[in-house]
């Protein structure tokens, strides 16, 4: 007896589009609204929708808690590491001018990497918070 067949099929339809939209928000942030934080929240929302429809156990196969907890400090490390690399290249902390041969390209690369760091931290924090809340008070 599967009462929520329609929910499952609907969720299967919408999940890839949520992830695609998160990537659009992430990489189109230079031209439209959005950026790392919003994309992180949206992609975390995808995992949470998956957990709501298919159960938390299935969601932990998709996003294992170990990986999620690595993501929380990992993004900050990516961000700070960008700064350190730019210092090693002989510029100020978080001055991206040394990343490419040209000013504009270098700064676009820098913004991209830094936004990926933000995405990883925000996404990991949201999913880890959801797991922690959901596990609390059971077992």
């Amino acid at each position: 007896m599967r009462l929520d067949l329609i929910l499952r099929v609907g969720a299967k339809l919408i999940l890839p589009f949520i992830l695609l939209f998160a990537l659009y928000v992430q990489f189109h942030g230079d031209y439209g609204p959005g950026g790392g934080f919003q994309a992180g929240v949206i992609s975390a929302g995808m995992v949470i929708l998956f957990a709501i429809i298919f159960g938390v156990r299935a969601a932990k196969h998709v996003a294992p808690p170990r990986v999620v907890e690595m993501m929380v400090p990992g993004g900050v490390l990516i961000f700070a590491g960008t700064g350190v690399v730019s210092m090693l290249l002989g510029y100020n902390f978080l001055d991206y001018t040394g990343f490419a041969h040209e000013f504009l390209h270098a700064h676009e690369w820098g913004i991209l990497i830094v936004e990926i760091g933000v995405l990883v931290t925000v996404c990991g924090t949201m999913i880890a918070m959801f797991y922690a809340f959901v596990e609390r008070g059971r077992t």
């Binding site: 589009f17 949520i18 189109h28 609204p33 709501i52 159960g55």
Partner: protein
């Protein structure tokens, strides 16, 4: 033209908010909240055309995609009393009983 659209969406928004405030059961509120999500998308679209800047429909898309998460979360909480409830686990248990 966009004036008419924005005005109508705002009027519908007001009526839906009144229903959300008055709604006797939780399901009325969820229904009103879902409707307000749809109306907010329409408001963003028509207001963008009204102010000559329709490029910001991304926010409407965000609404549309994420409104579903909130609705499903509330409804699942009502159905099972718990967001972590796993239907597959239930089925396994009933098979072994």
């Amino acid at each position: 033209m966009f004036y008419v659209a924005t005005g109508a969406v705002l009027a519908a928004l007001m009526l839906a908010v009144i229903r959300a405030i008055r709604g006797p059961t939780v399901f009325d509120r969820v229904l009103a909240s879902n409707t307000i999500g749809t109306l907010a998308i329409l408001l963003l679209a028509s207001y963008g055309f009204l102010t000559d800047r329709p490029e910001f429909l991304d926010i409407g898309l965000t609404y549309g995609l994420l409104n579903l998460i909130g609705t499903f979360a509330v409804l699942k909480f009502f159905r099972h009393g718990d967001l972590a409830h796993d239907i597959a686990e239930d089925q396994e248990k009933s098979r072994w009983k």
